[in-house]
Symmetry: C2
Subunit: 633 residues, 2 copies
Amino acid sequence: MAESWSFLDTVESNFRPLVVIELAKGTKEETIEWFTKRIVDKKTDGGAQLLIKPLVTENGHENIYLVGASHLRLLLGAETVGLVKECNDNSMRTFTYSSRKTFKDFADDNHNFLTMAECQYIIKHELDNLRAKNEKMIPGYPQAKLYPGKSIVRRLLTSGILVQIFPLHDREELKKLRHSWYGRVRIGYQPLDDIRCYFGETIALYFGFLEYFTFALIPMAVIGIPYYVFAWEDYDKYVMFAAFNLLWSTVILEVWKRICAILTYRWGTLLMKRQFEEPRPGFHGVLGINPVTGREEPVYSSIKRQLRIYLVSLPFVCLCLYFSLYVMMIYFDLEQWALDYHKENESNFSSLMLYVPSIIYAVVIEIMNRIYRYAAEFLTSWENHRLESSYQNHLILKVLVFNFLNCFASLFYIAFVLFDMKLLRQSLATLLITSQILNQFAESLLPYWLQKRHNKRMKQRTSSQKTDMDLSLAEQVSMEKEMGTYLGTFDDYLELFLQFGYVSLFSCVYPLAAVFAVLNNITEIYSDALKMCRVYKRPFAEPTANIGVWQLAFETMSVISVVTNCMLIGMSPQVDALFPDSKMDLVLTVAFVEHLLLAIKFIMAFVIPDKPRDIQMKLAKLEFESLEALKQQ
Amino acid sequence: MAESWSFLDTVESNFRPLVVIELAKGTKEETIEWFTKRIVDKKTDGGAQLLIKPLVTENGHENIYLVGASHLRLLLGAETVGLVKECNDNSMRTFTYSSRKTFKDFADDNHNFLTMAECQYIIKHELDNLRAKNEKMIPGYPQAKLYPGKSIVRRLLTSGILVQIFPLHDREELKKLRHSWYGRVRIGYQPLDDIRCYFGETIALYFGFLEYFTFALIPMAVIGIPYYVFAWEDYDKYVMFAAFNLLWSTVILEVWKRICAILTYRWGTLLMKRQFEEPRPGFHGVLGINPVTGREEPVYSSIKRQLRIYLVSLPFVCLCLYFSLYVMMIYFDLEQWALDYHKENESNFSSLMLYVPSIIYAVVIEIMNRIYRYAAEFLTSWENHRLESSYQNHLILKVLVFNFLNCFASLFYIAFVLFDMKLLRQSLATLLITSQILNQFAESLLPYWLQKRHNKRMKQRTSSQKTDMDLSLAEQVSMEKEMGTYLGTFDDYLELFLQFGYVSLFSCVYPLAAVFAVLNNITEIYSDALKMCRVYKRPFAEPTANIGVWQLAFETMSVISVVTNCMLIGMSPQVDALFPDSKMDLVLTVAFVEHLLLAIKFIMAFVIPDKPRDIQMKLAKLEFESLEALKQQ
């Protein structure tokens, strides 16, 4: 190994820019000098051993730097981050430089062995792991303290010297991807492997889930249509539909785990070892000894954090929930008012007015969700979690609970307190459709329009009529650095989660919900694709092996929907009529069926293996080989 | 490493017998010669490199061999099996020969560094992994086929040439253990660490669980006593008791996981890597290529196995369940007859007769359970599972389902069909107490008595008045080889599982069940300890990190008990009186409370971490170190 590193001394002639670093205007010279020196320094001297070049634009030097790396450096980096690639014998193995010849498509002169997204991920990893040695502070900025082992880039980011780091788009590849993804109107699968190569596994897995979920909803939609068309309201048919829905939702969630395993095995992330988690950038505390690593780093008392969570965050969340219920009661007042108005002046206008309260409420719900989201982010960040994963879990829990209540409380109230099925159907339809329209507008179309207008202005300023492809590197960088930052798949999954709630919680009173969900998701694929390719900066690739906590969230929703659907069926007049003598028999029967369905759900979830047999075999084979190798040692 | 193995050539002077091998009478000389040669052969020649000596008794040579190993060989074996031991810095690490000096209590002349149970486990592992090279059959037995890689010991066992392999007791250690375990009457903890040193982790963990479970039942027993004494039958108090029980049972199962982690961390098994699972000895099939290992070994079509499971085993289990229900109906006829008899001749005798049907039924249940157990073992073995774990899972599933129905069906019938709470209480008490008495008798006292009689006869034959301590090695071996074989912790856990069912399923009608369970478990600890030390051959130690599938079984039982207890409370006349107007409100309230309790249960199980914080930290530290070590490479 030691020899290989020394090859890197020779600066490569054909420098390929991969990542852009933007420093704040007016950053001191000594800081820039020190930072760039640390980036190019040899590994043995504690540097990152990367290549860096300032970007010279027409306006001169703008504190923007391009980072790249030699081919060899990237290969060694791929070993460090533990990339898993396909071998010549079609098995997936962790890449090591010494065994490089055994990997498929590897050749010393093939610079496409690693995808551009992988190269950018490697560079990000190396930059993040560039750590302070004996520096007590960032040169030139005495207030930006450093201690041995602290990530330099994170300190630069938190102290505002480093404005942003982002990976460059590859105009040519992006054009190809756009074409195959949403360039032509067609029915078919998305090019998930290409998306993964360009945007990384987390984003490809989101699009894979979106596509899978859409396909999985189609049977529900197809079965739901005749219920709407023929206005079927028989007991048997409703029960059939609800039972099918409940078991179907279990099956699709279990099958997704298997598909997810197939995808991530092919992409190598299923086998990738988890990296040791470093503190998140925003984490602060007094210097102490980390009991796990034995290193000096900021520590923050876990009791203080617990106090913040239970004495501030929890009451705040409860207050928000109360406020959301209060708004709901106002909505019901409005609804009553509209109903009275309609009764007084029976007209077309007044019957249209019946929908207005629901639409207003849907808009208010969306606005409250978004405001609460910022509050939750602020609070969770203030709780000062040490690890990104812990931060994410607390954030997701806060947001999920509020969103669930905010979106569904009114429906629960209508269904189980007012017992008004007609209003439930109307309210459900309005909420679902309004929120879908709002989301598509706010998430994709509006940003796209803003971005387009901005680009036009930029181009007018450079007063050229070039297409995207002809832009110079400098123009490309200055255009991309102004683009919005994609904040991760959280909002996209949340939208799907709420949609799943609308579809499954009350599926037996409004079978058409699945149809709307399918229609929405088809356009969602296109608008999300547009968003990724056109609106936002390219995000760094994030290797991932599954959709994480969302799997649990969807499963929980499907358990809750068993309870709600059984209650709805039990309350329907048709079922009521079957038990003319004793209400109690009715309730007992419903309770029994509900427990039976829940039991079947759990048994099904237990029986269906999480990984297909061939993936299990491949994993067993790898495990066997590594055990054999250990024995040989 | 290669050098260290060569040290082993010198046969150690102080041979310490660890394991006994008994060959069938009349085994051919060439077979014995070949087998012993393979055992002593060098590792590099494919042998086990152990020491072996024939045992010479008064009756001459009886085909009994003693196996031992040099100290160095055992240390190298400890590395092979991946033992985890405590280091000088109090952390737990995987033992390697090269880092031996860093381990606590290690010294080249300290032969107690490895416990005797560990040494025996190592020898068993080495014997099991003694594999055929080019032999096509066992010399002298052409029908006992071999192929490269087949375990020789397993083939010898399945073809009946090898009668048994068992580890020797250590009379001195056993005496000490017996004294500290059950030698004196006292209230206190069991010496779990000593039990683990002598019998290994699986058995120590069973006794740990038994002890923990007994302590955990004490609060339920203490709260239950006043209900019985004062005959409290108020609604509030019953609900309080049931709610406490339900949450308590969740808490104790979650806390057990934490205690289990503490114990197994201290014993090193929490960190032990899982070994690659070889086919179980009984597995047969036609020679083929294993797709995982690429080795030639018997393969058996998974479709054939599925056919056997679904076309034979499943119908058989259903038939048994039907039979069990049929027997139950006979019991109810008997019960009715006893009641009629009591009504006709009101006497002391007739009121005693009321208990007779339950007692008979309890005995019949126990007998049916035991017969079914053998049938299930036969069937599961006939299903021809390749792995021991898969065999165990199918066996446990079959046995659990039948035992659950067999034991509890009559109680469910009484509670939810006959609605007879008085009979339920009486039946529950009789079943619980009778099964406890039967179990203690059949499992421990009877075998102990048989063993004692046998030993006495043996001693009379050798016509000596020696105590156990003075026995010669030959006498000890010939006594131990006649002792019964301990078949694992399955039956012991099953007994606890059924007891947990009796205590929790109907806890609110019979609060005294917990008291009986506690009393039984205290004697159970003593009788099980007696069984382990006196009745059975010493079992081989089995490293394990948890109680496996039993955790899931207990958790499932505690979920079912939420449902049954809520139903029982809903049916009680006191609760009934609270809802004089509407039965429906009652049922809805009960259903709501039940769902709330289930939700709380799941949230609690999710929130309570499975490992205590300090164990988490220690594991994180080890992970960090191994990642750092990888980086250094």
